[in-house]
Each structure stands twice: as C-alpha cells, then as structure tokens.
Subunit: 219 residues, 2 copies
DNA sequence: CCCAGAAATTGTACGGCGTACAGAGATAGG
DNA sequence: CCTATCTCTGTACGCCGTACAATTTCTGGG
C-alpha cells in the first residue's frame, strides 16, 4: 500500500508550459511535434511523456485550453439581450481561435467532452433557457451554435495554407476574389455572378450574417 | 518548343486508382500515407509523385472527389419543395462522408475552391434563388449551409477515436450517454440535466433539427 | 541522519514517414 | 533506328513518435 505520495524529484516543467510551447510551435511552424515542444522547453523529447501519455493527449489538452479561454465580457453581462450575448460570445471565440490558425485546425479532431467544453456548454444553456427555450431545445440549440461557430472557424483557417498568423481579413478576401473570378460563367453562371459574395465568406460580416439567420431560426 | 506531347512510357496507374487506394487506407487504418498508397497499388513510394506533387495534393484531390460524389436523387427533383431538396442533399452528403470517417476528418483541412465544390455551390444557389432569395443572400445562405453540414459531420466523426467504420448510431449514443452521465450536477446542473439530449448530438434527428432551424432562419 | 525506493529525466534505438536525387527502363515522333 | 522524354526504382536523408533501460534527484520512514 501507500505507493501513492512517495514522490521522486520535483518536476522541472508543467503541463501548461508544455501547452504554451505547443501553441507557440503551431503559431510559428504550423505543425506540432513532441520533439519540437521538448526542444522549446529545453528537455529531451521523452520528458514530455511524463506529462502526457502521447501526442494525441497533448492535442486534446491544447484544444481544451483554447476552448476554455473563451468566455468574457458581454457574454456574462446578464443585463444585455440574449442575442447580443451570444453574438459577443461567438465573436470572442472566433477572435481567440483565429489568432492561432494552426491550432484552430485541430479543434474538430477530438471528441468534445472535456470540462472546459462542458463549462462553455453550461453557460450557453443558461442563456438559452433564460431566453425562454425549454431545456431540451436549449441543449439542441447549444450544439447547433457550437457546430456553426467551430465549423465557420475551421473553414476560415483552412482557407489559408501558409503557416504563421492569418493575413488581414481584407487581404484574404482579395485573394479569394482572384480565385473565384476564374470561375467559368458558361458552366457555373450563378457562382460566377456570386464571386464577390463568395470572396467574403470568411469575413466577419458573413460570420455574423449566418449567426443571425441561425438565431432567427431559434426564435 | 513542342516539348508538349512527346511522351514516354504509358502510365501504369491513374490518379483515380491512387485516390481509391488512399480512401481504402483511410477506411482501414484511419490514416493516410504516401508509402501506404504506393504499397497498396504495388509501386515504389516515389511513383506516387508522378501523379501528385505532394501529400497535401493527394488530400485535396481526395476531398474534392468525396464532395463531388454528393449529388443525387431528390435534390435534383425540381418538383419537390426547396426545403425538402436541401434536406435530401444534406442527408446525402452526411451519409456519404460518414461512411468514410477518417477521410471526412480531412474535409476542412484545405481550401474549398475545387471544381466539384463549385458545382455543389452552383446547385445550392439554383435551389435557393429558385426559392425566392436574392442572389447575394442566396450565396450567403449557401455558405451557411455548407458550414453547418461540414461542421456537423466533422464533429460527428471526431467523436469516435478508433479507426475503421463508425459503429451504429445507437451504440455511439449509448457511449456518449455514459460519458455525459458523469457530468457533476453540482457544478454543471443544466448540462447534467441535458445529458440525454447531449448524447444525441451526433444523431440524425439532431442533424435534421439543426438544419431545420437554419432553414427557418432563412425564410 | 541516512537510505530505500519512487519519480523525472536522459541516452539510445527502432521503425515509419515524406520526399529529394540520380539512374534505368520504356515509349513514340523524327 | 535513334533519341528526347517520361515513368518508375534504388537509395538516402532528416524528421517523427515513442519504447526501453539507465541515471539522476528527491522524499518519507527507520
């Protein structure tokens, strides 16, 4: 017995330091590697396995951390209308995740069942039930919102192939515009005509437009 | 000049054969490797580079192929109400992609600008403009639908960690139910109470519920 | 105070990956 | 037939995740 609490040397690192290094690595290189994390914090590659059982656990923890950092400001201000609070949350999540494009690309690569994810779910439920939805519909609406927010973010970051921070929105739109202007109008007349709108699919106004249609559908 | 059309030996393979091998590999192993594709079709690993410049091109082509195979039946039946046609399309896309879970996980890892994607876009535009939306709103609605459909599918397949085909929906729901029943009601009362609904987030009825709320918002 | 033993870290190694490079074999236009 | 051109192979490099054993560093019990 008592095999618990018989410790060895102190850890020189922490999970959070490793996750911070992982995030930096993703931001600078666009890809994650155990060896890269270890090098960044100055230990042998294997040392990482003291903190995480394998690479996928690092990714899950990182996703949890990113999602958990996404609650602030107007979302918790209960005096504002519920639609405004949800818009504020959605914009906040997008802003935070899009700041780390390569990490955002990992968002939908693991089950969403961590505690920080549940915390987000709980607050969304609070708002929606407060808005008058019955609990079951509120839960379904919560998932609908999560699907939309994460889907839009994933598609937005997937649109940029280079690593590093995303270029300004206008630049990305300009590039998309050049791409969609090539659509042959003889074959795809409606798409060719819609090129200016399609170029803006990754814009904040399209994001809000979609969110509002979705909230309309919930009322 | 005339460097074109001066051929060498006939190719022993085709892009399609390689993509088919890639899909089989993803279905059986859950991950894609150039060497695996080459082994499956019986050539040296480098031979793949005759057909695709690099691995990411294989993935892009595979995603295009999967998305392009997704138009059938009631969607093109112009006599049906437009909402039914869109529901049929959404269900069809989901069915086809969920049949290849690991491949579906790659869906949002590359820009969506291929010709098959544009073809899908074009038909969605047709339906929405036919439903009375003005062209710009129809384009925005198209993207909203794509975000929802792909996001829901990505989250659904991400929920299963093992490779191979997805277990039946009921089994996956049962497993999610066991997970969500662990949510501590003292900390997350609303989420704990919503566990039965949350377990069904990956179900066909949640998928349709969300889609219908979204279509409601478009009207 | 010491030391037994647990825990953290390292050294080394293995198998697999993407893919660059050079050369061999096949093909068809001149 | 020749030769330019294309396909495919052999080989190799530098990464990757991570298993295993040895080493170091610490702590609690005697």
């Amino acid at each position: 017995m008592a095999t618990r609490g018989r410790p060895g040397p102190r850890r020189t690192l922490s999970e959070d330091e490793l996750l911070a290094a992982a995030l930096e690595l993703l931001d600078s290189e666009g890809q994650l590697s155990i060896r890269g994390i270890a090098a960044k914090v100055g230990v042998a590659p294997n040392a990482v396995y003291t903190y995480f059982p394998d690479k996928s656990a690092v990714i899950r923890a990182l996703v949890e951390k990113l999602l958990g950092e996404s609650d602030t400001g107007a979302f918790t201000d209960e005096t504002k209308p519920w639609r405004d609070r949800i818009e504020a949350l959605a914009l906040g999540v997008r802003e935070r995740l899009v700041a780390h494009p390569s990490a955002a690309g990992l968002l939908m690569s693991a089950p969403m069942d961590g505690p920080r994810t549940t915390a987000l779910n709980e607050r969304l439920l609070d708002v929606l039930i407060g808005a008058g939805l019955d609990p079951a519909d509120a839960a379904r609406a919560t998932y609908l919102l999560i699907v939309y927010v994460l889907g839009a973010i994933a598609l937005e970051v997937a649109d940029e192939t280079d690593p590093g921070p995303l270029p300004p929105e206008e630049d990305r739109i300009t590039r998309r515009r050049a791409t969609f202007d090539q659509i042959p109008a003889e074959i795809f007349p409606r798409s060719a005509a819609a090129a200016p709108t399609m170029a803006r699919f990754i814009s904040t106004d399209q994001y809000l437009w979609g969110l509002r249609r979705l909230l309309d559908g919930l009322e």
